[in-house]
Symmetry: C2
Subunit: 250 residues, 2 copies
């Protein structure tokens, strides 16, 4: 067994911290991530598959649109965004990714990434070489299933974003966004009521199809209504019900 936190044995030739192994089997995210549903023997084989870590400083790219597909990535720690770009330079945030999320599946169709993925804070990722993943998932039906589930989950998530962008007003989009973050933090064992936004108002706006001024105004309005408390990037949800109602009604 090996973990990031175990000191490197003095006798071993471990020179690169990035390559320190962290077994999936001992990872707290295993139930959210690629190995969900695998038994011990299977997990061991996945451990050997995922043998490379990648560290990114805030602002660094994991990949750019156009880069060839090498690997898929699982977020081990930190926070990322993916942006789609248009010829004319306009850019739109297509998603925010946190711990346990899988990245890079956009590249499978053409062999090249179709978006940019960037760290919004210092982050660590597990690199899953794609060709080995394909191979191993032929041998381990549970792994194959989980991979398919993960890709399908991304498709479903995208449908939700379409709904958001296509038929909600500014306040509804913001409520949906906050509740989504809240729920994802909760699923990871953090508070669902209090968290820090890792992105700027402009990035939220890009994701929600709104301008940054609108984001700012809606947050202020929610605060005045007593539904949330905002201070800079810190959010405290005071009336989750009210936010939910905003979505359910009409």
């Amino acid at each position: 067994m090996n973990t990031t936190h175990a000191p490197a044995p003095a006798t071993a030739a471990v020179t690169d911290l990035n390559q320190l192994r962290v077994a999936c089997s001992s990872c707290s995210l295993r139930e959210l991530c690629l190995p969900a549903g695998l038994d011990a023997r299977e997990m061991e084989r996945v451990d050997r598959l995922v043998n490379q870590r990648r560290k990114l400083r805030r602002g660094e790219h994991l990949y750019h649109a156009g880069n060839p597909l090498v690997a898929l990535y699982a977020v081990r720690s930190g926070f990322m965004k993916s942006c789609v770009l248009q010829e004319d330079g306009r850019e739109q945030v297509a998603g925010f990714h946190m711990t346990g999320d899988m990245l890079g599946m956009d590249a499978i169709s053409s062999g090249r990434h179709m978006c940019d993925t960037v760290a919004l804070e210092d982050s660590e990722l597990c690199e899953i070489p794609y060709s080995y993943l394909e191979q191993l998932s032929r041998e381990l039906p549970s792994l194959q299933q989980q991979l398919h589930r993960i890709m399908s989950r991304e498709i479903v998530r995208d449908y939700g974003v379409m709904m958001l962008l296509g038929s909600m007003k500014a306040e509804e989009r913001m409520a949906a966004f906050l509740l989504n973050l809240s729920q994802r933090f909760a699923a990871r064992g953090y508070s669902s009521a209090e968290f820090n936004l890792r992105m700027t108002r402009e990035e939220i706006g890009s994701y929600l199809g709104l301008k940054l001024e609108t984001i700012s105004r809606v947050l202020s309005r929610f605060q005045q209504d007593g539904w949330i408390a905002v201070r800079h990037k810190h959010i405290r949800i005071r009336k989750a019900d009210a936010l939910h109602q905003l979505l359910g009604q009409r």
Copy 2:
């Protein structure tokens, strides 16, 4: 070999036209569809996998949100739409599907469909039992690859829709929509310059995040500019360049 158009042999006990076999290997869509990239031996095995057809009259559902995942479907002929629904009853078109498109991948993540899929004209679909597909794709690496490519393509398509909904104006959305249809018809051997819309203005509006009146107005404007000719559902693209420019600029 067996095709839909061959008369059923009088001696055979073929009673259900829906079950008449049409081999993938003799299907004109094979290069667009699931068997793309397979050799003859592999194709033969996929033929045995896809042994059920399903006919839908215009307006009939292929599946509803909530239905359990049974199969994926390939559009053999006709035209379909998928709609996501919200608790409050609001509904949004998430995609239009034509010949060769694969449907149903939204259900893999949870085992239940997350959208409604409906025929917009009489349509025929190939039913691909999902558990057999999983199994066979473990045995045939090319099939596995193609399945992954298809799911990834759906993710990339969704990114495009997000871009459209999140950062384009009404006219740009409409131009993108028309050009996308045009290009997809062309890929299927039809005219890229002239085609019939299979959906109502309201459905286009729902897909593009606009109201039907806006769709009508934008089409009229395009027509006045001489960029297209619209008569009811019939569209003739006269200046594809102008439409492209509308997207590329700014």
